[in-house]
């Protein structure tokens, strides 16, 4: 199995850390992983993205043009990465702030109200874990217990008390992801 993922959004949305937790979870189940971020003067409030690959084989290129899954968290990233999902692949996105919804019909598209649900949980920071839960519901490439073990490894000790909250966020994400039908959207317009 090889899963090639792009996660893209604003800097500060936890894009890079979501990728890191995913990569750590992969390690927990003995997979090869790579995590390749876009980098730059991050304080400029620009976009951030990270390519994460999990595979049971050695990973060749950490840098890719097309992906099995795109997890998209803002409009700029939607504009940039909708086209890079492989035919038959998956696009998961948070509709919050999205004005131009995806239009492709040769991929599977899902929505997760990550922002809203995180605010409802009383912790905006947990947003990325809600989205990750949604992704894992669609593609259970890593087991929940491995995600939690990965979290434990990637978080400094002083944040370990937050792991139950993260677990809850993952669950909420899993329970609230909904398929998105492109045809509906077109009809609305």
């Amino acid at each position: 199995m090889t899963e090639e993922i792009i996660i893209a959004g604003f800097g500060g949305q936890g894009v890079l850390s979501m990728g890191k937790i995913l990569a750590y979870s992969g390690i927990m189940q003995d997979e090869e992983v790579s995590w390749m971020p876009s980098y730059g003067p991050e304080m400029r409030g620009g976009t951030a993205n990270v390519t994460v690959i999990l595979s049971d084989e050695k990973i060749s290129s950490p840098y890719l043009k097309v992906f099995d899954t795109a997890i998209i968290l803002n409009q700029q990233s939607m504009d940039k990465f909708e086209e890079s999902v492989k035919p038959g692949g998956v696009l998961v996105y948070d509709p919050n702030g999205i004005t131009h919804h995806p239009t492709r019909t040769d991929i599977e598209i899902f929505q997760i109200e990550g922002n809203k649900l995180a605010v409802k949980m009383g912790n905006k920071q947990i947003f990325n874990m809600v989205v990750m839960g949604a992704f894992l519901k669609i593609k259970p490439i890593v087991k929940l217990e491995n995600v939690l073990a990965g979290l434990k490894k990637s978080l400094p000790e002083r944040y370990h008390h937050l792991i139950p909250l993260n677990k809850e966020a993952l669950k909420i994400g899993m329970d609230n992801v909904t398929p998105f039908k492109v045809a509906n959207q077109v009809a609305h317009n």
């Binding site: 003067p41 991050e42 304080m43 400029r44 409030g45």
Partner: protein, 257 residues
């Protein structure tokens, strides 16, 4: 009142600085760089010297100053702006030449160029933004970082024993006979902005006298590097930076105060 009345020139309290371009500033909200740019350009506008001014941009967050300042500018290698400006001023003696530099640029890698340009008494203005940190590269320790202050390369606070003391570059260059006007200002309140602008005006006026370097330090903030909100950063600056880097003139008309 109609909209047209409101925007009549006599009713206007504030408008965009004429010599700033329309490019949106890339600085973090609350950063002092933008204000320092504004007042520098206001001075050049008020003196009517746009055509005769040549600026030298540093390497640091203000590397893109040339995108914002509507004048001719040359971008120098990290720390070398005073050398670049030296040559421009020597070969174009009638022009108003200035550098705009951060504390990493001016007081670390560019120390030699700074000291020697000041020592030779080049006829240039140096505007020195001291925010106590390397902003552009993500918050590393600068020579000006205060004792005990945390940065990404002094994560446990600056330790004087192994990392040296915060460098008072401005006091240092004031000792050199080549400096004519040396002052330390700030831009976090209206009052300070007005004073800083006056100092920059003085500095550019001095160039007409051909008396040597006018050196204007602006103690500023870096809320991103300091990991604070803009307001907290300004308060922290007043409480911590100003006592170590006191505001005011240090050398006027070639005489130490």
């Amino acid at each position: 009142m109609e909209l047209l009345d409101i925007i009549k020139p006599e009713n206007q309290v504030f408008c965009k600085t004429k010599l700033m371009t329309d490019t949106p500033l890339s600085y973090c909200p609350g950063c002092g760089h933008g204000t320092a740019h504004n007042i520098t350009m206001e001075v050049i506008d008020e003196m009517g010297i746009q055509e005769d001014t040549i600026g030298v941009a540093p390497v640091g967050c203000s590397v893109l100053a040339y995108d914002f300042m509507n004048i001719d500018m040359t971008q120098a290698a990290h720390g070398r702006a005073p050398a670049v400006a030296t040559a421009i001023a020597r070969t174009w003696p009638k022009k108003y030449v200035f550098t705009y530099q951060g504390d990493g640029d001016l007081a670390a890698i560019g120390t030699a160029e700074t000291i020697h340009a000041c020592n030779r008494g080049e006829n240039i203005v140096i505007i020195f933004i001291n925010n106590g940190i390397y902003g552009m590269t993500g918050g590393q320790m600068a020579p000006t970082t205060l004792e005990g202050m945390k940065s990404s390369t002094s994560p446990f606070g600056r330790d004087i024993k192994t990392m040296g003391s915060p460098l008072k570059m401005t006091e240092l260059v004031a000792q050199l006979p080549g400096t004519y006007f040396v002052t330390r200002q700030a831009v976090h309140t209206h009052k300070h902005v007005r004073k800083a602008k006056k100092a920059i005006r003085q500095a550019f006026e001095n160039l007409k006298l051909n008396k040597g370097i006018s050196f204007v330090e602006i103690v500023s903030n870096c809320n991103s590097g300091w990991k604070m909100t803009p307001n907290d950063a300004n308060e922290w600056m007043v409480d911590n930076m100003f006592p170590y880097y006191p505001l005011g003139d240090i050398k006027v008309n070639g005489k130490l105060k």
